[in-house]
Every structure is written in C-alpha cells, then in structure tokens.
C-alpha cells in the first residue's frame, strides 16, 4: 500500500546557506504514529515544515496523498486546498498560529474558510470547545492566554477542519507537567480517532505513549536510526550520539556516582550502586 506521506532524499538549507536537513527519507502510512527525535537544531522543525508543505526542499522529492508536493501545486491547484485541510500543523511557538481576536473565532477560522454554513460552523466550534474544555476561554484573546492554554487553542483550531494528518512540533515543550499531560491525552484522543500523527520531540518519556515508530535525527541533520520506541530508547549509543541523553556525574557522601541522564521535566529517580561507583579520595 502506498505511503500517505513519502520523502525521498530530501535536503533543505536556509537562505543564508545554513544546512537544515540532509538526504532524509521517510515514509508514513495511513494511521501511523511516528515520533521524530533529535536534539535542538537537528532539523525536526524543518522536517515538519517540509511535511506540511510550508517550505519546499531544494533536493529530493516529497509526495503526499499520491501527488508530488510543490509550491505551484499547493498555491494554484485545487489539490492545495485539500492538502491544507487534510494536514494540520501545530507549531512549537503557537503564537504564530493564533491571529484571531477571540478563542471562539480562532476555532471558527478553518470551518469558515471551507464555506461551512453558519449553523455547521457553530456546531463544530461548540463541539471542539467542549472536547478541549475551552468553554470558559471562548471570548478571551488568544495572545492573553497562558502557554498551555495557547497550545490547546491552537490544537483545537487545527482539529476543527478534521485533518487526516497531524504534524506536531514539540507539543509539550515549555509546558508544566499537568499541561503537558493534558496535551498528550488530547494527542492520544486524536490518534484513537484514526489520525496519522507525526510528532517531533526531545521529550523521551512521552515517546512510547504517542508513537509506534521512532525516527532519530542526528546533529549532522541526517537520519541516525529508525525503529520501535522500545528498540530506540534502549539503544543508549544512538541516544547519546543524537545528544538526547548525556552522562551525568554527582557526588554522594564518599563516592562519585555516574549515570546516563535525560531531562524530560519530571522528577528523576535512578539507582545507586556504591561498590561500582568511584570513591572520593
């Protein structure tokens, strides 16, 4: 079966000549849940922007829904409307996506563009606000909300057009644990409804929940590894090479303890083994 989204040897560099991605190939099947892992600056955001048809590769090809995606296709062909409706993108910095006066208008933006009748728009807005518990915020200005609320509103606005694919750029970045948990639950809900979800993150602890396959991008902006979450998260060499974990050393009363460490923003407990740890001289 043909993949829903397919990238072949895609390379992209920014206007100043700085490379962002190099020779990346990726295939995502319908209904699949993919996580893209990588350290800051490795090209995860660029990869999502390429998948979302917001920027276009200088080398390689990108096919979605059976068509090769190019700027003229998306801007002039009616297929472009279908593409934009079916692919929902959640930016890491959602301020860029929130540009309507109120939360309610923000959610209504997509259905209005599709020419939905007023009662249909109203129904979709109410349903979406209920799903995301945004009722109390309906009349508020999106820019005045907290970080977690903004992300919820942005995700709600994206889902209001019922996209087939969700591209989420570090959805839990900068959120407190409770907001992060709420957002992950909403993502799981979207996945349960059969949506194809591609999530970029360097938050290792959410990966087994939200993904069935993981792609690791190295600091050289190439694909370092690909596999199941269990296989990737157990491959400490790959995680270290991708700068997703590091070796951390701290002192106890009379010995140094060294262990591998990540920073998922949660309380961290790790085992100690005094006989194998180095004594402090």
């Amino acid at each position: 079966m043909q993949p829903l989204l397919e990238m072949d040897q895609v390379s992209y560099a920014y206007a100043e000549g700085i490379p962002a991605l190099s020779g990346v190939s990726l295939a995502v099947a319908e209904g699949e849940r993919v996580a893209i892992l990588g350290a800051n600056g490795c090209g995860k955001t660029t990869l999502l922007k390429l998948l979302g048809g917001l920027v276009f590769a200088q080398q390689g090809t990108y096919r979605a829904f059976g068509r090769e995606i190019t700027d003229p296709l998306l801007s002039r062909d009616p297929f472009g409307m279908f593409f934009r409706k079916e692919i929902g993108v959640l930016f890491q910095h959602v301020d860029a996506q929130l540009f309507n006066p109120t939360v309610e208008e923000e959610i209504a933006f997509g259905p209005l563009q599709l020419g939905d009748p007023p009662e249909e728009v109203r129904r979709k807005v109410l349903e979406t606000m209920e799903l995301f518990s945004l009722g109390p915020l309906a009349g508020r200005a999106p820019f005045a909300l907290s970080g977690g609320e903004k992300k919820k509103v942005a995700l709600a606005a994206v889902l209001a057009t019922d996209p087939r694919v969700l591209l989420l750029d570090e959805p839990t970045a900068g959120l407190d644990p409770r907001s992060s948990r709420i957002l992950v639950d909403l993502i799981l809900e979207a996945q349960a409804r059969g949506r194809t979800v591609v999530t970029s993150t360097n938050d290792l602890h959410v990966v087994p929940e939200i993904a069935g396959r993981v792609l690791v991008i190295g600091e050289d902006r190439r694909v370092l590894a690909s596999g199941t979450p269990e296989a990737i998260l157990q491959d400490r060499e790959v995680l270290r090479a991708a700068n997703l974990i590091h070796r951390h050393r701290h002192a106890h009363q009379d010995y140094w303890h060294e262990h591998e460490h990540e920073h998922p923003g949660v309380f961290h407990v790790h085992p100690h083994d005094p006989p194998s740890d180095e004594r402090i001289a």
């Binding site: 206007a15 100043e16 000549g17 922007k49 979302g52 917001l54 920027v55 829904f65 700027d71 998306l74 801007s75 002039r76 062909d77 009616p78 472009g80 409307m81 279908f82 934009r84 409706k85 079916e86 929902g88 993108v89 930016f91 910095h93 301020d95 860029a96 996506q97 929130l98 540009f99 933006f109 997509g110 563009q113 599709l114 020419g115 820019f143 606005a157 994206v158 057009t161 087939r164």
Partner: protein, 305 residues
C-alpha cells in the same frame, strides 16, 4: 457503486461552494521578498567565511585599507590612474574568492546601470565640449534654446568619453571596494571595527543591537507568515488579507516594544548604567600592517602612472 474517497468528496464540496485555492498573493510575496532582502543585506556570511585574502585579515585593517583606497580613488584624475585602482580592487576581489556574480548581485550591477545612465549625458560635446566623434544631431547652423546655444553638430566627443569613463571608473572602483569589504566582513565585525575610528560606542552598540533584533523580528515574521499559510485553506477576499496584515503589524509592534523592555531590563541587570564600555581591541598583526602598506604603496604608485 464505489464509495467516493475523501479527496473526491472534498473536491465535490469545494466545487459546490465555489472554493478557490489560496494563491501566493501579494502578502506572501512581499513578506518573502522582505525576508530575503534583509537576509541577503544583513546576514550574508557565506562569503565572509571563505579563506580569502581579506577574510584572513583583521576587520580594522580591511576597513582602513578600504577607506584609504576610496580616498585615493577620489583623488585620481587620469584614466591610467583610475584603471590601476580598478585593477587593484579586482585583484583583491579575486584573492578574496568573491565571485563576479556575488558582487554584481550585492549592488555593483545597480551601481553600473545607474552610473552609466548618469554618465551618458557627459559623453556629448554639449556637456563636455570637444569635436564630435559620433554625430547624433546635425543642423545647418547653431541654434538657441532659451539661454543656451546648441552647436550645429551634437554628438559623442572624445572629451565626453573621457569624462564619462573617469566618472564610471571612479564610481565603480569605490563601490566595488566597499562591497568587497561588506562581503568579506560579518556585520558585527564591521561595527566593532568602526570603534577604531572613534565613533561613539553607544551609536555602534545601538546599531549592532538593531541588526541583531531585526534578525529576531524577521524570524518571527516568517513564523507568523508560515502560521497563516498553514491555516489558509482557501482564497480569502483581499480586504481580509489586508486586515490580517494590519493585525500582524500591530502584534509585531507590541512584541518589539516588549522585547525592547526585556532587553533594557536585562542590560540593567548586568550592570549597564548608560555608558557603553567596550573591551580594548588586540593589536594589528604583521599581515594586517603588510596589507595596509601594500594598499598604500599601490594606490600612491598608481598616481604616478
């Protein structure tokens, strides 16, 4: 009966509702051109990273050399003198691995076009005097046009060609030298080098911060544009695009004001009291002095040709 796919259902709905694709309109093009302009003008560093002659020198030596060259070229009077100066800057460009296409794109082509347009009238005997080599207008006798007397033959004269050539060579050599400096030197290094000329540190610091934060705001503008692009499913009325631009300008203004306050507070927190102090620069190396001596010697030598 086959079940229509999502795509077919969508196209039928779009046809029924007369939806049209959101084209790359003037807003999209303007933002992209603006971003590209600022990126090229302010952030072009690819040429500055090459290991050419100028790139290996101290930015202060490059700046001083350029200023001396521009002064020397403006004092040059004869064609051989100016041609020698032009050859010198061409040699520096070649040794600094700056390609012709790059310097033309950086502004030399525009300078060439406009200088040529400005120099064209000077080629006429009407402006520069002399006997016409290429007659353009021939009449039986001289004729008056208001307070001016027009000679019977108006054309391109030798004196006119020399005048135009002098102007073009001087202008293009100066512009090429300045562009060579700009292409081989990152903006921030150039601003630091300007301290050497005793320009007020506060002015230079403000200029530097303006460039830095222009970069930040440019990136934010691009994100805002992509944010809208990701949600622009269909074509909207032009008035809606105008309103969006207006709202985003207000948003960008508010963000830049908040950024200004944050930067001010951050500077205060780090001890800024209103007086800008900079670390003393290192000494120029032997290679820098050698370059300056070579530029001075060649420029002075050109005057004796």
């Amino acid at each position: 009966m086959p079940i229509p796919s999502r795509e077919q259902e969508f196209f039928e709905m779009a046809r029924a509702r007369r939806l049209r694709p959101a084209r790359n309109g003037f807003v999209d093009k303007s933002l992209r051109q603006l971003a590209a302009f600022f990126s090229d003008a302010l952030l072009r560093e690819e040429t500055a990273r090459r290991s050419g002659l100028l790139q290996r020198l101290d930015p202060r030596a490059r700046l001083l050399g350029t200023l001396f060259f521009v002064l020397s070229v403006s004092l040059a009077r004869s064609i051989p003198d100016l041609a020698a100066h032009a050859a010198l800057v061409a040699a520096v460009l070649w040794l600094s691995h700056v390609r012709l296409r790059e310097i033309l794109g950086a502004g030399l082509l525009i300078a060439l076009v406009f200088s040529t347009l400005m120099a064209l009238p000077a080629t006429l005997n009407l402006v520069s005097g002399g006997k016409p080599l290429l007659p353009l207008l021939v009449r039986d006798a001289a004729w008056r046009l208001g307070p001016y007397t027009i000679p019977p033959i108006v054309g391109i004269s030798r004196e006119g060609l020399l005048t135009a050539a002098t102007f073009l060579l001087r202008t293009l050599a100066s512009v090429a030298a300045v562009l060579c400096l700009a292409l081989s030197t990152p903006w921030m290094d150039l601003l630091r080098a300007l301290r050497f000329l005793r320009l007020p540190p506060l002015v230079l610091q403000t200029l530097g911060m303006t460039v830095r934060y222009l970069h930040v705001l440019l990136r934010q503008s691009e994100e805002i544009h992509l944010g809208k692009k990701s949600r622009a499913l269909t074509r909207r009325p032009l008035i809606a695009d105008h309103m969006w631009v207006g709202s985003r300008m207000a948003y960008a203004w508010e963000k830049s004001l908040r950024l200004m306050e944050d930067v001010g507070e951050a500077m205060t927190a780090r001890g800024f009291t209103g007086e800008m102090r900079a670390a003393p620069g290192s000494r120029l190396r032997a290679a820098d002095w050698g370059f300056l001596a070579a530029v001075a010697g060649l420029c002075l030598g050109a005057h004796f040709i």
